[in-house]
Symmetry: none
Subunit: 411 residues, 2 copies
């Protein structure tokens, strides 16, 4: 089985939007051990879309389409699919009811243009959109399967996972594929490639590869075998190998995030956490509270952006700030101690640094960050240099803070 990916939208051809959908879908197909043989980007023009869909159908057995399902006149995927299949668009009252219900639930009025979204090419099926208004479309052209999804990444990902992936798995007959993901941090992708080396050779089964995003490296183990039990055994044995090679860099499996793993460790121990942030400005607390149920262990956080706030809320002595500067080991430690005490928490993490783009000096360069962890009997501080730009400094600082706590909890 081969796959082709078609991304539709003028914004992709004008450089306004980077097509991340194609890469996301390609990674999903890799996990299904199904090769993606081509990718197309096409603008909002019916004839070009039809021509592109035809080319994609020549390349592959399954065509995954994103974009062009919205309510405006620029959204032409429905029309193009109908033209490709040589059928009419048919109105579906049940779809309109569902779209209208979506607006009602939000307390808003549906615009008349949303009616367009209740049309499907004759013979095609609607794919449920649990996150937005645009239904997806599943169609067949000879033996080819075509799946059209919305262009909004969150809607696309949900629809693919719930409504399309199971079908593709079923189509992939005879071979069983088991995918296991290991989440790693505290080391770079090229370091991991060096350590894991020959296990990542092309054509090996299980296939092992890595993707990197925001300081986290994900190792994919893709085992293919005639039976599920066999594939599972191969994946497990490689997971064991990788865990031995990578040691404490492995923090989780599947789609676990660092915040989720750290939260789980805290909850299991009945421990609580408070945070105090300067340069990350709430990002660490945001990552921690991205996890449902974080209230079991996360008590509170201070974003002490000003020096005054550091003193007033966390009791950092003004003299300490004057002597060492707000970005210093001493202030980071005082923030952590102050937060731990004020929150009566088991652990407190504090972050202070220079996110940039201004404020660096030769002694304290842009990207310099101090991360302190206060525990019952222990005070730890790490000095990091994260370079630039601002957004990367903030994200790497928050991720590193979580990793420091993870390693503390793991002992």
């Amino acid at each position: 089985m081969k796959v082709s990916i078609v991304s539709i939208g003028n914004e992709l051809l004008s450089g306004r939007t980077v097509d991340t959908n194609a890469a996301w879908l390609a990674a999903e197909m890799l996990a299904l051990n199904t090769p993606v043989v081509s990718g197309y980007i096409v603008g909002d023009e019916v004839e070009r879309i039809v021509r592109t869909l035809r080319a994609a159908c020549e390349d592959a057995d399954v065509v995954l389409v994103t974009g062009g399902l919205g309510p405006t006149e620029d959204d032409l995927t429905r029309e193009a699919l109908a033209a490709l299949l040589g059928v009419q668009l048919v109105f579906h009252q049940d779809l309109l009811d569902r779209i209208a219900g979506f607006f009602t639930a939000l307390g808003r009025t549906m615009a008349a243009t949303n009616r367009r979204q209740a049309y499907l090419p004759a013979g095609a099926q609607a794919l449920h959109n649990s996150v937005g208004t645009a239904p997806g479309i599943a169609a067949q052209r000879e033996h080819r399967r075509i799946f059209a999804m919305p262009g909004v990444p969150s809607e696309m990902q949900r629809m693919f996972t719930d409504g399309i992936k199971p079908t593709l798995k079923a189509l992939n007959a005879g071979q069983h594929i088991v995918v296991r993901k290991l989440q790693c941090c505290g080391t770079g992708e090229s370091n991991i490639a060096q350590v894991v080396g020959p296990l990542m050779a092309r054509g090996r089964n299980p296939l092992i590869n890595s993707t990197a995003s925001q300081g986290v490296v994900t190792m994919h183990i893709i085992a293919t075998a005639p039976s599920e039990g066999e594939a599972l055994g191969m994946a497990r044995s490689d997971e064991q190998l990788l865990r031995e090679m990578l040691g404490p860099a492995v923090f989780g499996v599947e789609d676990q995030t660092l915040a989720e793993v750290v939260g789980g460790m805290l909850a299991a121990r009945g421990m609580t956490l408070a945070t105090a942030e300067s340069c990350t400005g709430g990002l660490l607390a945001k990552l921690i509270t991205d996890v449902p149920g974080a209230s079991r262990y996360f008590l509170q956080s201070w974003v002490t952006y000003s020096n005054q706030a550091k003193t007033a809320l966390l009791g950092v002595p003004t003299a300490l700030i004057a002597e060492h500067g707000a970005v210093s080991q001493q202030v980071a430690e005082a923030m952590a101690l102050g937060a731990r005490k004020a929150a009566a928490a088991d652990y407190a993490i504090a972050i202070t640094g220079i996110a940039g783009p201004d404020g660096g000096s030769s002694e304290k360069p842009l990207g310099l960050v101090y991360i302190a962890l206060a525990a019952n009997d222990r005070l730890y501080c790490r000095r990091c240099e994260f370079g630039q730009p601002r957004a990367a400094v903030r994200l790497r600082a928050a991720t590193t803070a979580l990793d420091i706590l993870r390693q503390e909890l793991a002992g």
Copy 2:
């Protein structure tokens, strides 16, 4: 003149790498007023590359190719171009000397495989690579121009800017384009389409279209005229029209974010802000401090995730929480008042809600959020229902909070 973009490399089809080159080139072409009509992603296979290049040549007058110029056996762009043009690959001693010199300058030895990079299709020209070893290729097929560049973004961008853009500018006679963006919030994309209606017709000049992301709708005005002054005048006149139609929904221009605009308003008035967050857990503070220089107006924030923290840090009476619940207008208002007082800020925003996925009831459904704003002489609270999932509730709550403050500041 029309352009097609071809991105070559297995890594683009396996999801390991997002194709940012195509978006970068597309943005460059938009600035040259040259439409990109199609984009292709193809793996490292000669025949598929040839077929894709042929399709791109059918779409456009200029084909921009990235990737496949490296020294390994997987780098097949040279071979594919030669096959497309029906010519042989020819060895160029001067190119080899330059490649070898690149390694010498770095104090490294050239690998034997780099010799591959000194071959060009007969009749093609080399494009200088000032950042890496791989020379680019400029070729012609009938009246079509083909430019092949390395896949490494920094090398590609430099080669395009220095060696290709001037040629394209010279080819592109007589048209000037001006692009203006208006940022809107507080209303949906389909509502805007309904209000703006006929202005968004296809083929109109200026062309007006919209993209939506995370509660913000961006209107693009793209004016084309024989002179830059004329195009600018057309874009300005349409901007005026749109502003009249959309009223206070327009919050900014170009790439301004809501947090940036609100921050600018606060800074201009010499006013300060504090925030108190429950269900958004630091996200609002994170958005505010994404903006460099936010310390001019942003004092501090509390993430009062627990009821205890709401009482201890913001002085919300326990009786109030007991009577109305933590997710209530009364508690949101008390949080805002408490934060404003404790921070001695001009404005304080407080958010409390049920982000989900658990904790909803028939009276207080999942996604229910109260957002309160405390100012000198004014206390305002809005009740919102944002549905699900958790991440969307949190983002919409934080965005809405910023918009409430913007409207307050705008009077």
